[in-house]
């Protein structure tokens, strides 16, 4: 990956944490720019957008600064991958962030290896989306469900289901072995993230809603009380 020399901008008001992230990403061969405030980040990015942005929601006294920044960046580019990294873990914040067009929403509990893996996966998806036609798609077909493992995209009845990366991993983990119950820990591992039970539940809920929005009869993700979830077999 080092030869790609992709650029990452980190907007984090905690300089020590930001420096740690920068160090880790630089070790992986990324070029990292670190900003402590929304204004600084915006003025720096006015000259050109990086390949990926990691934003802390709470930027010092600018409590919702991360959301604001996300909004303005999204207005500049539809494809720029944006990851929210935050100490907040409430569902409400996650929904707000994702609604603003962030590609993922991670809490600061995440370990550096996990974070690096997520960023790498996002870049991969980015790359695949950009050069989709060149690739031989590696697809997974489960009834009306189609998963493109290269582009990390999911289709239901040939309609694109707009999933975040975390949601994609969850669907992928469930649909790969229909009928097999995946417990929460397995799902967490699949999504490369540390989430508590509640968050898994709300992710599943949101995934169901996204599918139901396309197909009112969607009922493929089954809850097995006390165990976890499974993709309905057959």
């Amino acid at each position: 990956m080092a030869q790609n020399l992709r650029t990452i901008t980190i907007v984090e008001d905690d300089l020590a944490l930001g420096a740690n992230y920068r160090e880790a990403f630089e070790r992986e061969g990324y070029a990292v720019t670190l900003h402590a405030s929304r204004e600084a980040a915006l003025s720096a990015m006015a000259n050109g957008l990086p390949d990926l942005v990691i934003i802390d929601v709470n930027l010092g006294s600018d409590v919702e600064g991360g959301f604001e920044l996300c909004r303005s960046l999204r207005s500049q580019s539809d494809t720029l991958p944006i990851i929210f990294l935050t100490a907040r873990d409430s569902e409400f914040d996650a929904i707000s962030g994702l609604r603003l067009g962030a590609d993922d929403y991670l809490t600061k509990d995440i370990t550096l290896p996990h974070l690096l893996a997520r960023v790498a996966a996002l870049f991969r998806r980015q790359q695949v989306l950009q050069s989709q036609h060149e690739q031989t798609p590696s697809k997974l077909q489960r009834g009306a469900l189609t998963i493109d493992e290269n582009s990390f995209s999911v289709d239901w009845n040939a309609q694109r289901v707009d999933l975040t990366l975390t949601e994609y991993w969850l669907v992928y983990a469930l649909a790969r072995h229909p009928g097999h119950v995946k417990n929460r820990q397995q799902l967490m591992d699949a999504a490369n993230t540390v989430l508590d039970d509640n968050t898994i539940t709300s992710h599943i809920k949101r995934i169901r809603k996204k599918f139901v929005a396309l197909d009112a009869d969607f009922d493929e993700i089954e809850t097995v009380y006390g165990m976890g979830y499974r993709w309905r077999a057959g």
């Binding site: 905690d14 740690n20 873990d89 569902e91 600061k108 509990d109 039970d197 509640n198 539940t201």
Partner: protein
């Protein structure tokens, strides 16, 4: 009231004064005769002629015969007069099988006191029955009857008053019958007034009604004034009852009301009572009058009327020869008879009662409001410290309204405080998360750098410490997030049987260190959120498992019940081998309360598990409680969750 009382007192005093002056005025014209002074035996004035039948009932004197006499035989006697006849009634112990001689000694009026004529009648009746004692040629005879009873012998006789009007003695002599028929007279028993003539001279002088005084008293007097004259010894020698027109009507219709009014105006009833039937009066004010001083007082008569009595002495020179007594019913002047006063009193009583009633109602209303407020304030904060509902009566403008508003403000502040405390953990975890992330990422970076072999274990330890801190932070914010989740949850009808069955199977696979027993009733539905219910059971089971030693039994039960008529579903999770800590078991369900003494697993326990369980239960309108149980002599703890059942089941 005091006005009525004063009026009443004034009228009563006026009445007493009036009676007293009337008595004084009349006393000058009344003079008891000398004969009236010396009497010893009272003669009742009879209202009609009694039947000669041996019974005294028809005399209607109202007084029982008086015990008299000396000697061994108890004797009761009464005398009465009616139209020229002197009636004698005698009751003695029986003299069965003994012959008696009845002896009547009569003294008639003569031209002077020394000229009194004495006559003696004697009879030795052979058997009980009627008798007639014929006398000498010019004396009227005596008719009588002797009836013998098992307890008493009775003699009733009519004597001629013209012969016996001044003094009278009656004696019974028992004649002992010996074997030889010789009859020896023997004075044996009591005589009336005196023993027989041979021994004691004067028969008892009679106290008789004095018709002359009656004439003197018989003048126009105000209505309802009773007059009577007593002799120096208090014996009644004249009695005229005043007419009482009309006054009875007033009394009859409202005696109860009157008694009430009397009580209200503080009018006590007199304790003094003058009995009309008693021949001798020994009460005030007569006693006072007989000692020479006019006096008045209030007294009850034998009909129960409250009267004013005025007595004034009758004097012959300096000697008191008797007393004139005037008596009038106070009802005649009672101001309550005055219609306007009566009306005033009635209105006063009515208004007072109405005001008292209103005050009472008002006080009741106020106390009800205060009680309601107190009750609401007492239960305003639920066991989770949340303000459950608004206090009643806050819109009222009075002091209780102010109190309710103040209370409400206070409770709101307490609620806010509680809210803040509860969110503190969440805030704290949030604030700690960034520095934690710094440590975490620093450690991660450090690991990528070249660490010496000696540094590696140190890095390991630091990493595990951070991991534990992460877990603690998650647990801390979990409670608050659970509250949010509960608040946002969507509810639907859930097949609790299926849910519990799946869960129990899952638990059996997860916690293989324990034995599992389950008893789940079919077709139980509740209205709720499945995810929350799963979480609830997870928490309770997790708690049960952690308190139960390995290989112990865990029991999961689902039963349908009716609690006070409402259909409910009871979920019970029982673990054996442990019991509840001392203290209020409800505290277990409060946040930050843990019953664990030490932490041997490395997993943080902040008491959130049961708190979240309680939170979810309450969100489902349920009740959660823990109690000690003993099944087959094994102690255990049962946590019961009672949820309202869905109506269809």
């Amino acid at each position: 009231m005091s006005y009525i009382r004063e009026t009443e007192t004034a009228l009563r005093d006026a009445q007493a004064d009036f009676l007293a002056s009337l008595a004084t005025g009349m006393a000058a014209n009344v003079q008891p005769s000398l004969a009236d002074q010396h009497g010893a035996e009272y003669v009742f004035r009879l209202s009609r002629a009694p039947l000669l039948d041996g019974f005294v009932d028809d005399w209607l004197t109202g007084v029982a015969p008086r015990p008299v006499g000396l000697g061994e035989v108890a004797v009761q006697m009464q005398l009465g007069e009616y139209e020229g006849g002197l009636w004698l009634y005698v009751e003695t112990a029986p003299w069965r099988d003994r012959a008696v001689t009845l002896q009547f000694d009569c003294t008639a009026e003569g031209r002077s006191e020394t000229d009194e004529r004495k006559v003696r009648y004697e009879l030795t009746p052979e058997a009980p029955g009627r008798f007639t004692i014929p006398s000498g040629s010019y004396h009227p005879s005596i008719n009588g009857i002797w009836s013998e009873g098992s307890q008493r012998n009775r003699i009733e006789a009519r004597l001629p008053l013209q012969v016996c009007g001044v003094a009278f003695a009656f004696s019974i002599r028992i004649v002992e019958q010996t074997v030889s028929s010789a009859v020896l007279p023997k004075v044996d028993t009591a005589a009336i007034g005196s023993t027989p003539a041979e021994r004691l001279p004067a028969p008892a002088r009679l106290i008789r009604h004095n018709p002359q005084i009656e004439q003197q008293l018989d003048r126009a007097l105000p209505l309802g004034v009773d007059r009577f004259v007593v002799n120096a010894n208090g014996w009644r020698i004249t009695q005229i009852t005043g007419s009482r027109p009309g006054s009875n009507d007033v009394r009859a219709d409202s005696s109860l009301l009157r008694a009430l009014y009397r009580r209200i105006i503080g009018d006590s009833e007199p304790t003094l009572m003058i009995d009309d039937a008693e021949p001798r009066i020994t009460e005030e004010p007569i006693v006072s009058a007989l000692s020479g001083k006019p006096a008045q007082s209030r007294a009850r008569d034998s009909a129960g009327r409250i009267t004013t009595v005025a007595a004034t002495p009758l004097k012959s020179g300096n000697v008191v020869t008797g007393a004139l007594v005037l008596r009038q019913d106070t009802a005649a002047i009672l101001s309550l008879n005055n219609p306007s006063v009566l009306k005033l009193t009635q209105r006063t009583v009515f208004v007072t009662a109405a005001v008292v009633g209103l005050l009472l109602a008002w006080a009741t209303w106020i106390s009800w409001r205060i009680r309601r407020l107190a009750r609401a304030a007492g239960s305003a904060l639920d066991s989770q410290g949340q303000l459950s509902n608004a206090l009643p009566g806050q819109s009222a403008r009075d002091e209780i309204g102010i109190l309710a508003r103040d209370f409400s403000t206070l409770l709101e502040r307490v609620g806010e405080q509680q809210q803040w405390l509860r969110s503190l953990a969440d805030k704290l975890s949030h604030e700690l998360r960034t520095p934690m992330a710094v440590v975490q990422s620093s450690l991660d970076n450090l690991r990528e750098a070249s660490l010496t072999v000696a540094q590696l274990p140190l890095h390991e330890r630091a990493s595990s410490g951070v991991a534990r801190l992460h877990a603690i932070l998650n647990a801390m914010s979990q409670a608050n997030r659970a509250e949010q989740t509960v608040a946002d949850a969507e509810y639907e009808v859930i097949d609790l049987t299926a849910l519990m069955t799946q869960l129990t199977m899952a638990y059996q696979q997860t916690f293989t260190t324990h034995q599992w027993r389950s008893d789940i009733e079919t077709n139980v539905r509740v209205y709720g959120n499945a995810d929350l219910l799963v979480q609830l059971l997870d928490k309770v089971v997790d708690n049960a498992v952690s308190f139960s030693p390995a290989d112990e039994c865990l029991e999961v039960q689902l039963v349908r019940r009716d609690a006070d008529g409402d259909p409910v579903a009871d979920i019970t999770v029982t673990n054996f081998g442990a019991s509840l800590p001392p203290g209020d078991p409800r505290k277990l369900f409060q946040t930050m309360v843990t019953q664990r003494s030490g932490d041997d697993t490395g997993t943080p326990h902040l008491g959130f598990g049961l708190y979240i369980a309680a939170l979810i239960t309450h969100a489902h309108q349920g009740v959660i409680e823990a109690r000690d149980v003993t099944v087959e002599d094994r102690p255990g703890v049962a946590v019961r969750i009672r949820l309202p059942r869905h109506a269809a089941t």
